[in-house]
Amino acid sequence: MLFVFGITANAQQISVSGVVKDATNGEPILGANILVKGTQNGTITNLNGEFSFSSVASNATLVIKYIGYQPIEIPIEGRKSLVIQMKEDAVTLNEVVAIGYGVVKKSDATGSLTAIKPDKLNKGMTTSAQDLLVGKVSGVVVTSGGGTPGGGATIRIRGGSSLNASNDPLIVIDGLAMDNDGIKGVANPLSTINPNDIESFTVLKDASATAIYGSRASNGVIIITTKKGDKNSKFQVTYDGSFSASSVKRKLDVMTGNQFKAYVDSVWSTKNPLITSADTLSANKIRGYLGNANTDWYNHIFQTALSHDHNLSFTGGIKNLPYRASLGYTNQDGIIKTSNFERLMGAIILNPSFFDDHLKININAKGMLVRNRFADGGALGSAAGMDPTQPVTSTDPMFASYGGYWQWRPVTGNTLATANPVGLLNQKQDISNAQDFIGSADADYKFHFLPELRAHLGVGMESSYGIQTLQEDSMALADYPFGRTGYSNQSKSNKSLNFYMQYVKDLGKHSINIMGGYEWQHFYRQEYYVYQGLDKTVYNTDLGQNVGYNYQAPPMFKTESYLVSFFGRLNYNFADKYLATVTLRDDGSSRFSPENRWGLFPSAALAWKVTEEDFMKDNSTISDLKIRLGYGVTGQQNLSGTLISNPDYAYIPVYSANISGAFYPFDSVYNATSRPDAYNKKLKWEETRTTNAGLDLGLWNNKLTASLDYYYRETVDLINVVSVPAGTNFKNVVVSNIGTLQNNGLELTINARPITTKDFSWEMSFNASYNRNIITKLTTGIGDGYYVSTGGTFQGTTQVFTVGQPAYSFWVLKQKYDSKGRPIEAGAYKDPNNQSLGKYTNLDAFVDMNGDSIIGDKDKYYFHNANPDVTLGFSSRINYKNFDFGFNLRASIGNYMYNAVQSGNLNVSKDGVWSSLGNFNNLMTSSLVGNFQGTSALTFTSDYFVQNASFLKCDNITLGYSFKKLFKVISSGRISIAVQNPFVITAYKGLDPEVYGGIDGNIYPRPLVTVLGLSLSF
C-alpha cells in the first residue's frame, strides 16, 4: 500500500477523457463505472459512453466495470484520450469456473463441465433457480413437478445413475454442499436461493469432475456461485421485477352436465341390453339422482392467477470491503383457487481482503421466509369426477350442515363419495410457513513466506424450520362432522466444515497445482405433529386429559447423519498444452455399517489443447480445440425416495413404537406395541464408474463454439427397494443393493453468434443429448425373467427393472383389438345386444405370449421405457437496436408414459358412472373410445395405456426493449414481455407429456404464463 501510494504521489497529474464501447458492436456503454485504481476517484460514463477526469496521475490505471461485461483495467500511460472496448460477460474460455474446492480457467478444465450464466433477458417467470436451468445444458433434464406455485422440480444429469435411490444432483451453493431434502414449503435446495442473486452455474457432469465430491456425486454436481460486490466500486442499485398472469392451458375432457345427463340416461336406460328387467326400478331410481345444473367444476376451481416479483440489489465496495445485498419478494397465486406462494428473501455477501490480499474472507448470509397456502390436491380429481349435473351450492336444508355445498353424503348416505371440489378448497386452510437461513464463511490465506501455498477454511450451516398448519371446518366433508385441526413441523440443521491447502508452482513449462483437504458434515432433522378434531373431546389415558377427537401426537421424530471425508487433487500442466488431473476422495458415512462405511473415489483426466501446438498457430478457422479424456468413480448414499421410514438408520435393527389408535388390549389394559423394523445390515453405497471422452471446439474466433462428449457409465450396487422373499425380513420390501446399470450417452452443445453488427446481433445455442441405459445385472434374485418392480400402478406391476432392459421399462400385457380396432376387454359381453354370444375371456383380450393358455405375469412383455432417448434444447436471441427477442425450445424424444389418468377413468359402463356406494362419477369423453366396462383387473396392465410421450415444448418467448437514462435517477433499464409455456407439440393423449417417472397421475397443470418484466439500474 505504501509502495503504491509512493508512486502515485510522484507521478505527473494530467486530465484524461475517453469513451467506453461495446467491443462487439461498437455501441457506447452508458453508466459504466470508472475508477482510478487504488483511489476513491471515480466517475460514470454518460449517454454517449463518455467520461473524463480532470486530474489523474499519468501512470495510474483505470478500472472499468459494467454489469454484464467483463471488467477491464487500462493503464493510462500518459495518454489523454482513451477508447476503451468492453467485452460482454458471457462465460468465455479464459474465465474461471467453479469446480469442487477451487476454481479453474475454463480453458484448463479437464472434465466435462458446463458453466452458464443465467440468461437475464430471456427467462420467463423464474421463481426458483431450477427454472434457469431448463433446457440450457446438454444432458440436464429439468422436469417441474407441475404448476404448483413454489413447487419443486426433478433434475437429472445424464439420465441419473441410480434407480430408486435419489438421482438428484448434489447442489453446492457458494461452497456449501446442501442436503437434498426440502422442508415444508421449501421444495429443494435450489428454492433457497434467489434466482436474481445467481452469478453462474457450473454443472459437473463426468466423474473426473465430480469425484472430488465422492459419495454424493454420482448424479452430477451443480455448483452455484452468487453475485458479489467489487472492491472500490461505486454504490449501485438495481431493480428487477415482473408481473405475470397465469391461466390453465388444458383440462381433462370430462363431460358437461348435459352430455353426462344424456350418457347416464343411455347407460341406465332400460333399453340398454345390459340392464335386465329386474333392474328397471333401480335404473329409474338412479337416473332420478341426476340434477338439473350444468356445472363446469373446473371453472369453479381454476382461476387466472396474478403474480408479482420484485428484487432489489445493492452493490459497492468500501475500500477493502466489497459488498452486495439483495432483497427479493415474490407473491404468486396458483391457478387452482386458494393456492398461493409468498416469499421474502434477503442475502448479504461481504468479501473483504487483508494483508495485501493475502487473506481473503468471504462471508455469505441468505435468509428466506416462505408462506405457502396449498390448495387441496384432491380438488383436481374431484373436479374431474364430480357429477356435472349438480350445483356448487344449494339452499336445500340437507346441505346446511355441509356449509351449503352440494355433497353426496346427505343425498345417498355415501361417506366415500367424490367430494365437492369447491368445498374442498374453501373449507380447508392448509398453510405452511418456513424459514431458512444459510450462512457460510470462508477464509483463504496465501502464506506470506510461501505465496505458492494457500490454506482455505470454510464453515457453513443451514438451518430451516417449517410449520404447516391445518384448519378444516367441521362442515368439511373430509372430516365430517368433527373437522380437523393441527400442525406438523420440521426443522433441520446442517453443519459443515472444510479445510484444504493448495500449492501452486510454475517451473518453466511445468506447472503443478496440488490440493489436499478434509471435510466434515453433519445433517440433523426433526419432525413433529399434532392433529385432532375440532368439536368433540375424548379422554386420553396416555396424557391423562381431555383432548380433541381422534387426537394424534406421536413423539418427535429425530434423525441425523454424518459424513467425514479426505480429499486431494493434483493438476499438472505442461507447456499449457497437456493437462492432467488426478483426484482422490475417501468418504465415511454414518448411513452404513462399519464394514461398508468407507469408500474410496479416485479419478483421472487428461486434456490436450491442440490449438496451442505450433502447427495450429496459423489456423484462422479453428480458434480453440481441446480433447479430453477422463475416468472416475463416484458414489451415492442418499436413500431418500426409497420408501423406508428413516434412511439414516437403514442398516441398524430398530423397533418402532406404536402411536395413537394402535394399542392392543389384554383384559382392560391397552398395551403399547413394539414392532421390529426391516433393516439391511449389508447395505452399502452405490458406486458409479464413468469414462468420458470429449472435444471442445471454437471456430472463427469463437463465434461458434461446440462441445461433444461421449460417456460410458456403469453403476454397481444399485440401491433400490426390492421385494424380499417372504419370511426373510420384517417387511415385504427392503432397501438393498440390487445390481448394475449401464448408461451410454452422447452430448453436443453448440453456441453460435452468426451475426454481430452494431445494430443487429444474433446468438443461439443448441444442445442435444442421447442417453440409453440398460440393466446388466440384478443380484437380489435369480432365474430368467427375474425383475424388480417399480412405480407400478395400484392395480398391478406395470414398470420393472430387469436384466437386459432399460430402467423403468414398461412391462405389460399385449392388448388385442376387435375388428373395429377397439381394445377387447376380458369379462365384457362380446355383443351386449346378443348376450348368448357370451363374454370375452382373458385369452380373447391379451396375447398369450408363452402359449400356456393362461394369461398371467409370464405373458407380459417389455414395451418401451419412461426415459427419453434424445433430448434437445434450442435457444435463440436477436438484438436489434434497443429491442431483443428470444425464445427457448426443448424436445424430448422416445419417452413413453403410462397414462394412469386414462386407466383410472376407463370404466364407462353403467357401473363406471354410478358407484354402488351412491354417487355419480363423471367421465372423460375420450374414455368412450376404449369402451371399457371394468370387468377385468388385467386391463390395468395392458399396453393400451403405455403411450408415446415425445414432445416439443416452447418454454418461453420474450420480447424486450432496453432504454437509457430515464428521468434523472435511472441510468438504464429494460422492459419486456414474455410468454411462458406457450405451446407443446405431442402425440401423447394425456394432459401433459412431461411427468417425471413415466406414470401420469393427475398433476397440477402447468399454466400458460404471461410475464411483464422491468429492470432498472440507478
Binding site: 335386465t276 333392474d279 413404537a657 402411536i659 389408535g661 422373499p725 417372504a726 420384517f730
Partner: protein
C-alpha cells in the same frame, strides 16, 4: 506478529478439525420413535395386534407392509374376501380390482389380493419367529406362556397359508436365506405338532386375560385342522407328480371338538346376535347384558379409540350397510357386501316367482321375528332396503340388489353408547365355541357313527339350532351339515374351506351359486382354484418356489 498469529491459528484449527473425528460416524439412533432394545411385552402385544391392526398407528399409518393400501389389505379383510366373496355367500358391489376378481372366481398370480393375504400372514410369521428367537431359553412362567401363545399365533398363520396357498415357503427363523418351499402335507404335520405343543403350555381354558388365548383355541384349531385333513394331505395329479389320496382324520376332529364343548368351559352365548355387537367383550366392555365372551375363544380386538383399523370389524359392519337399513352404530356405510341368493335359500324357500321369500319380507323388517315359527331362525340376520329389492342379484354392482346382512353392528346389547361414532368397538369372534359343535357333528357323521365323545352328532347340531330358535333336526345328513355351516357361520370368513371339503367348490362339482365364475346362473371353474396362486412377487424374489398348478 499478525503473520505468526495466523499461522498459529491455522495449525490449531487443522489439528482440531482432524481430531473432530471419524468417531462421529458411529451413530446410534436418536429417534424417540424407535428403540434398539427388544421389549418383550411390547413385541408380544404386537404379535397379537398383527391380526387386528395394519401398522403402528390407528386406523392406518406406519404400515407393517409396503406397496398396498393398508386398510384394504389387512389380514382379516384379505382372508374374509378370499373365503367369502369367492364362495356362495357374499357378493360385493364394488369395482375394486380384487373384489371383482374374487366375486367371479377369476384371480391370478398378479392379483393384489393374493399378494396382500400372503404378505400379511408372513409379516405375522416373521415377528413370531423374531419373538421366539429373542426369548429362546427363557423359562420364567410369563415367558413360557407368551411363547406358547406366539407359537399358536404362528401356527395359525401357517394354517391359513397352508389352506390358501398349499405349498408355501417355510421358516422358523429370521434369516436372509430365502426359505425353502414346504409341501402342504408336511406343513399339515408341522401345524399339528405345533398346536399340540402349544396346547400343553397355554393357559388353562378361561383362565387367561381376555383377548389372550388359552388351550381351547389350540383344541379348536386342531379340530378344524383334522376336519380338513383329507383336503390338506391330498396331492392332485399334475405334470410329473402322481396323485396321492388324502388321509381323513375324522376321529381326532371329533375328539378335539368334544374337548372344546365339554372340557373347556366355553359355552354357547345364549343370544346369537350378541356375538357380533359392539359390547361383545362383555364385562370388559362394561356390559352386563352381552354374554358373547362365554363363547368367543379368539377375539380380534377393536376399540373405537384405542384399537382402530379399517380392515377388521369396521370393514364387516360398514361394508354390509347403507342408508335405509336399521341403525348399525357407525357413520361409515360402504354399501358393498350382501348375500348371494344361494345364502338366503339356506334359510328360506323362495316363492315361485322368486320375487320374495314366502311374502314375509317388508322393507326394513327384522326377518328373525317376522317369520312364522316354522322357519324362524335367529341367525337369519338379513334385511332388505326397499320394496324393489329382490333376493336375486341381476347386476352385481347394484347394492340395493340382494338381501342385506345385518349380522354385524356396533350397537351395544345393553343399549349403551359406544366409544366412537365412526370407529367401532365390536371384536371379531375369530374363533368361537359354536364351531366345535358343527365340527363334531360333521366328523361323527362322516364316521357314520352316532357319537365319538359324550354327545351325538344330532345333539351337537341341535344345540346350535336351539340357541337360534330354529326347529330341531331329527335326522342328520351331510347336505344338512354343509347348509348348517352356512346358517351358523355365514359372513364369518370361512365358507370357501367348507365348500372345498364337501367337494362343492372348484372343479366339476355339480354345485353352483349365483354369479359363480361370472355367470348369473353360475358355472364351474377349475379345481386348481381350490388353492390360490403363490404371488408373482414372491415367486420372483424366491427362486426356491414353484407355482401351484393352473396359474
Amino acid at each position: 506478529m499478525k503473520k505468526n498469529n495466523i499461522i498459529f491459528l491455522v495449525v490449531v484449527l487443522f489439528t482440531m478439525i482432524l481430531s473432530s473425528c471419524v468417531n462421529d460416524l458411529n451413530v446410534t439412533p436418536i429417534n424417540p420413535q424407535q428403540t434398539q432394545t427388544f421389549n418383550q411385552d411390547e413385541v408380544f402385544a404386537k404379535v397379537y395386534a398383527s391380526y387386528a391392526l395394519t401398522g403402528q398407528q390407528g386406523p392406518a399409518g406406519i404400515s407393517d407392509i409396503a406397496g398396498l393400501d393398508e386398510g384394504r389389505f389387512s389380514i382379516y379383510r384379505c382372508l374374509w374376501n378370499c373365503n367369502e366373496l369367492a364362495s356362495d355367500e357374499a357378493l360385493c358391489s364394488w369395482n375394486d380390482a380384487e373384489v371383482v376378481e374374487l366375486n367371479f372366481n377369476n384371480w391370478s398370480s398378479q392379483s393384489t389380493i393374493t399378494n396382500g393375504l400372503y404378505a400379511r400372514f408372513y409379516f405375522t410369521v416373521t415377528i413370531c419367529n423374531h419373538f421366539m428367537e429373542q426369548t429362546v431359553g427363557m423359562t420364567d412362567e410369563k415367558t413360557l406362556k407368551q411363547r406358547a401363545e406366539v407359537r399358536f399365533l404362528r401356527a395359525t398363520a401357517y394354517y391359513y397359508l397352508m389352506d390358501f396357498f398349499g405349498n408355501v415357503p417355510f421358516t422358523e427363523v429370521v434369516s436372509l436365506t430365502p426359505p425353502k418351499q414346504i409341501k402342504r402335507a408336511d406343513l399339515f404335520v408341522y401345524v399339528e405338532k405345533e398346536l399340540k405343543a402349544c396346547a400343553a403350555t397355554m393357559y388353562e381354558p378361561k383362565t387367561a386375560p381376555y383377548y389372550r388365548l388359552d388351550k381351547a383355541a389350540a383344541w379348536l384349531l386342531l379340530s378344524r385342522l383334522y376336519l380338513n385333513a383329507e383336503v390338506y394331505t391330498t396331492v392332485p395329479a399334475s405334470t410329473g407328480v402322481t396323485a396321492v389320496a388324502g388321509t381323513p382324520r375324522w376321529t381326532e376332529a371329533a375328539l378335539y371338538a368334544d374337548s372344546v364343548i365339554h372340557t373347556s368351559g366355553y359355552t354357547l352365548c345364549p343370544v346369537f346376535k350378541q356375538l357380533f355387537m359392539g359390547d361383545n367383550a362383555g364385562t370388559i366392555d362394561g356390559s352386563q347384558v352381552n354374554k358373547a365372551p362365554d363363547e368367543i375363544i379368539f377375539p380380534i380386538a377393536a376399540d373405537g379409540i384405542k384399537t382402530q383399523a379399517w380392515g377388521t370389524s369396521l370393514f364387516l359392519i360398514a361394508s354390509t350397510h347403507a342408508t335405509g337399513m336399521k341403525p348399525w352404530g357407525t357413520t361409515e356405510q360402504w354399501a358393498g357386501n350382501r348375500a348371494r341368493a344361494t345364502l338366503i335359500k339356506k334359510f328360506f324357500v323362495p316363492n315361485a316367482t322368486g320375487s320374495g321369500v314366502n311374502g314375509f319380507f317388508s322393507d326394513g323388517a327384522d326377518l328373525t321375528t317376522a317369520l312364522t315359527s316354522s322357519i324362524k331362525d335367529a341367525r337369519a340376520l338379513f334385511d332388505k332396503k326397499s320394496v324393489s329389492v329382490n333376493l336375486n342379484i341381476s347386476t352385481p354392482t347394484l347394492f340395493p340388489q340382494g338381501f342385506q346382512v345385518t349380522k354385524f353392528t356396533n350397537i351395544r346389547a345393553d343399549g349403551g353408547a359406544t366409544h366412537d361414532p365412526k370407529y367401532v368397538d365390536m371384536d371379531i369372534p375369530f374363533m368361537r365355541a359354536g364351531e366345535a359343535y358343527l365340527t363334531y357333528a360333521e366328523a361323527v357323521t362322516r364316521l357314520s357313527s352316532a357319537q365319538v365323545g359324550s354327545y351325538t352328532a344330532l345333539q351337537a347340531v341341535n344345540a346350535l339350532r336351539t340357541r337360534a330358535g330354529a326347529t330341531q333336526f331329527t335326522t342328520l345328513t351331510l347336505p344338512n351339515i354343509i347348509d348348517e355351516w352356512s346358517r351358523e357361520f355365514f359372513f364369518e370368513g370361512r365358507r370357501r374351506m367348507d365348500l372345498i371339503r364337501f367337494k362343492m367348490y372348484g372343479g366339476d362339482t355339480g354345485y353352483t351359486w349365483d354369479w359363480k365364475a361370472n355367470v348369473a346362473a353360475g358355472k364351474n371353474f377349475p379345481a386348481d382354484y381350490n388353492i390360490f396362486p403363490i404371488p408373482a412377487g414372491d415367486l420372483n424374489a424366491n427362486s426356491n418356489l414353484i407355482q401351484n398348478n393352473g396359474y
